[in-house]
């Protein structure tokens, strides 16, 4: 996971993983990385530039469980989704 995290900017570049994000295992790994970043940064940007698809399974494992783990207010104030296409945005919002 270290390769995809730019610690200076607290940004996770999902395109470095691939254009298609689908597994629960991957979702759980990234959730852990996001929590680490949240603990040491004001804001964590989740950059989906170059990502075509995320699945409900991935979004559920990564983002819904993240929201439940860190509570809703912290999630809303410290996490931002950027460069999501319409499909990715729909899947993530529906999973939350």
């Amino acid at each position: 996971m270290e390769q995809i995290i730019n610690t200076m900017n607290a940004t996770i570049l999902f395109k470095d993983i691939g254009p298609s994000l689908g597994t629960r295992v991957l979702g759980a790994e990234i959730r852990t990385s996001i929590i680490d970043k949240i603990n040491t940064n004001e804001k964590v940007y989740l950059d989906f530039d170059g990502v075509d698809v995320v699945t409900n399974s991935f979004a559920d494992e990564c983002f819904r469980k993240l929201r439940e783990t860190i509570n809703n207010d912290v999630f809303r104030s410290k996490v931002a989704f950027i460069n999501t296409n319409d499909f990715v945005q729909r899947v993530i919002i529906s999973a939350l």
Binding site: G22, V53, N56, D60, F87
Partner: protein, 298 residues
């Protein structure tokens, strides 16, 4: 004792393939030293999904501890033999053909691949890339295929209680169609859903495409979304598990009895030129949740 498999007979239909695969399993249970004879005589065409079902069955028998050995009768000029060689069918059976084959399958086939959680994304992306590059697929069809294929692959590893699955695919340019199959020899849908429910076998396979029906390890969305995508695309979905097959199309959803399949197989056929509105299967509670979380997206 010898067990003969005529590839000509096997290649007739899914039900015929499943019948032969089941007989092969039963044969090894009765006679563990059985020798298998696979004969390609008079076989002029075979779909990759039929071949993968046979391959997966042999892997299953080996997983039970039996040593599967025998002979494969092939002709160098056989089109199906060359095709399956290009799909790595023989390689996956650890059989080396005694001659060079013309394995150029027009670059529109996806070789038979074993996948695990370690290489799942790599396998998925390599398959999607081939299908995207070789077919003139509408963008929304591609997105739907990507989404559903991901969910199907993940389902196998999350629910089968096996550590591997098998996959193969083929694009047919003349009819704008993709056939794709994912197989495992795990616990099957009935046992998997009954970790949480108390369904009979027919209920289980019918319920597995309903939204929210899950064994607790997921959200029960993957096969629901896949079935909705297939209906919108006017394609075909078969869910094969145990003694049942569930067939889904835009016209009907039906369950039939089949010879036993030891795990689960998901077969889809999609039309690359039939547009799909993905909001129909990705937007559960979207309007409400968009009001709550929409400002987090920029």
């Amino acid at each position: 004792m010898e067990f003969q498999i005529s590839m000509k007979d096997l290649a007739k239909s899914h039900s015929q393939t499943l019948k032969i695969c089941n007989e092969l399993v039963q044969q090894f249970r009765i006679e563990p030293t059985t020798e298998v004879r696979i004969d390609f005589a008079e076989c002029t065409f075979i779909y990759p999904d039929y071949a993968l079902l046979l391959l997966c069955t042999i892997k299953y028998i080996e997983s039970l501890g039996y040593n599967v050995k025998g002979k494969i009768y092939v002709s160098q000029s056989s089109v199906p033999v060359n095709y399956l060689a290009g799909m790595n069918f023989f390689e996956n059976l650890q059989v080396k053909l005694p001659f060079q084959v013309d394995s150029a399958n027009g670059d529109s086939s996806v070789t038979i691949q074993r996948y695990t959680k370690e290489n799942q994304l790599e396998v998925l992306n390599s398959i999607l890339k081939i299908l995207r590059d070789k077919s003139s697929m509408n963008d929304n069809v591609y997105t739907g295929l990507d989404y559903c294929f991901n969910e199907i692959l993940d389902n196998v590893l999350n629910h089968s209680e096996e550590k591997e699955g098998w996959v193969a695919a083929q694009y047919f340019e003349k009819i704008n169609s993709i056939r794709l199959i994912v197989c495992d020899y795990g616990i099957g849908i009935h046992k998997s859903l009954n970790i949480k429910h108390n369904f009979d076998e027919e209920e289980a396979i019918f319920k597995c495409i309903e939204e929210g029906v899950t064994n607790g390890k997921g959200q029960g969305h993957g096969l629901y979304a896949t079935s909705e995508f297939i209906k919108l695309n006017k394609g075909w979905l078969s869910v094969i598990s145990g003694n049942k097959i569930l067939n889904v199309s835009d016209k009907e959803t039906v369950i039939k009895d089949i010879d036993n399949w030891q795990g689960t197989s998901i077969y889809i056929r999609i039309n690359t030129n039939v547009e799909v509105d993905y909001t129909a299967f990705t937007s559960k509670n979207y309007d409400y949740k968009e009001k709550v979380f929409g400002d987090m997206f920029g």
